[in-house]
Symmetry: C2
Subunit: 346 residues, 2 copies
DNA sequence: CTGTTAGCGCGTTCAT
DNA sequence: ATGAACGCGCTAACAG
């Protein structure tokens, strides 16, 4: 019923091997023969059997992309950039590769499960994006998996994730970015800054917070643990954390958020509390997602080159670009000063 | 070198078939035997070969999700919801299915290419999301592909896409939503409304625009073609279209945008032109994406239940929920009135 | 409940 | 440049 390579071969009066060679194009075939084969493919409306092909060749055209949350534009933009680079020539049967996007939801178990599933699929490459969980046992388990994947011929690339010995890494300088952002605020004269951190046990959270604290220290400001609140990377967390911070310290003049989404929630809470931005309280974000420029006032933030990093990760994963020397490249974030930050009132 | 099912069988002292049965869990196996097999799997660190498995079983654990732009939260949210429903029990080998997210970028060719690739992979299901291109030849080609996919056992579901005879469809009532939004504005007394439409030749664009025009007609307002501008679904298009509209018709009192992203661009252009929202010009969006509530003023829009629709599409694609009667379900959008719309100045 | 046997459809030697 | 033959690793009958 379903038409196979053999059917095509019969119709084109050639051997199955020849059809295979034409389809994969990795082998010399006489032009007239190729024509006949392609015509037969067309007439029979033949579609290659991917699994059979992958089984015989021991590799597949699938590329895994692990993200924490595909509904978050941070990951959407990254995934889009990676995705745009994995197609094109070089692969089997036309060079089209398919992106398998795996939503881990930040769960270590699901991360491992997905890596196993990708291993099972004999994925051509795997790109892990975003911050990692800070759990030794889990990090080790992931490391072991990555080693096995690599051993099986899968290229592994980390994008926006801290380096690991098992893979090439394009790492974001979350620490430096966080520091520059908070230094911008202390430079404006702020002394009472609230910090809305991301979820606990995440590298991104820790690094950004460390940068913030380094800035405080550099400005000779004592770090008051009451002024740091942790929460998920969402708007609501920013809203609630802001109310909490205002309650703990009504004299706050600035709030630094773990990312732009959280910052928007903070802005909403400030407005609802009757506070003006930036006259009463300055607000800083992180990532520079597209909507941040449309906040009112526009959000001061740290721009991460998500699209560029994703593109590069995709190219490296496909072997179309040299990995960085040492296997690790630190990607800087750029401070973008907009209307949401200003000097505090005197 | 790589450990196979036969190795596991040998170590557990059973036949390969038994190992397969344990792994797939679709068959009775004595508890002690299962234990031994699982232990062997563990000791050998065995990972099933997906392609081999798919070849033998003639189906795969892959589910295709076609989106126009994964970096757009509209699709990110939808994909996330679909994705969350495709896992779980019922599938082969643990019931984990992988989501293959295909970014068509709104290109008909890529849409067809991806459908072919998914057919090649013997995908278990395919979900097509978002508006379709309005090109007869292309629609027919897609229809033919969908028919073949269905014939091959792939379940096909449309989510937020107009119905097609070849598939089950959860369709958004873009027309009705657009109409209610514009009626809200005419009801407030607006008579000069600008409309920023999406890209030409898209069902979403056309339906929303039709709704808008129906509202104008109902209010006895003549439709002035100069007050409609087309553009991509992005912020910049909204910005530029607004400047253009203001230039063509300075007495405009309201602007309706094709979606929220475009509306944000419109807001920025109005602000930059020294106009207040909503005192000078009201603005309406569509979709109710998460950031819309944080616009200042918060955006009046039409909420589409993206997450719910995606969840349902995913469940139907997995055969875990009954398709709607007739194979088509019209999902309404709900008008959400916020601060960006008000009565025009007199 | 378990083992035996046959392919699934293709890539890839090795010949020619 | 092309063909013949083998096997990739697994599942699905069919026995027992």
């Amino acid at each position: 019923m379903t038409v196979t390579l053999a059917d095509v071969a019969a119709r084109a009066q050639v051997s199955p091997a020849t059809v295979s060679r034409v389809l994969n194009g990795n082998y010399p075939v006489a032009a007239p023969t190729r024509e006949r084969v392609l015509r037969a493919v067309d007439e029979l409306d033949y579609v290659l059997n991917g699994p059979a092909s992958s089984l015989a060749a021991a590799t597949s055209d699938l590329v895994g992309i692990l993200v924490n949350d595909i509904a978050d534009p941070f990951f959407g933009i990254t995934a889009s950039a990676i995705q745009s680079e994995i197609g094109g020539p070089g692969g089997r049967a036309g060079g089209e590769r398919l992106a398998v996007v795996c939503n881990t939801g930040g769960s270590p178990e699901r991360e491992l499960t997905y890596l196993t599933l990708l291993q099972r699929q004999r994925a051509a490459a795997v790109v892990l994006t975003g911050g990692a969980m800070e759990d030794n046992a889990h990090a080790e388990a992931v490391g072991a998996k990555l080693r096995k994947l690599t051993a099986a011929g899968t290229r592994v690339v980390l994008c926006g994730r801290p380096p690991a010995p098992e893979a090439i890494a394009l790492t974001f300088d979350n620490r430096g970015g966080g520091q520059r952002l908070s230094e911008h605020l202390t430079g404006l004269g702020h002394r009472r800054l609230g910090y809305i951190a991301g979820p606990q046990e995440r590298t991104t959270t820790r690094h950004r917070l460390e940068g913030h604290r380094a800035a405080l220290a550099a400005a000779g400001i004592e770090d008051d643990p009451r002024l740091t609140v942790h929460g998920p990377y969402d708007r609501r967390a920013g809203y609630e954390a802001t109310l909490e911070l205002l309650c703990r310290e009504p004299s706050l003049t600035a709030i630094v958020a773990a990312n732009d989404t959280v910052a928007l929630g903070a802005c909403a809470a400030l407005r609802d509390s009757g506070l003006r931005i930036p006259e009463d309280v300055s607000v800083g974000g992180f990532d520079d997602l597209p909507f941040s420029i449309d906040a009112v006032p526009a959000l001061t933030t740290v721009r991460l080159p998500l699209s560029e990093a994703g593109t590069r990760a995709g190219r490296i994963a496909m072997g179309r670009e040299e990995p960085p020397p040492g296997g690790v490249s630190m990607v800087r974030g750029e401070l973008v000063v907009r209307g949401s930050t200003a000097a505090p009132r005197v």
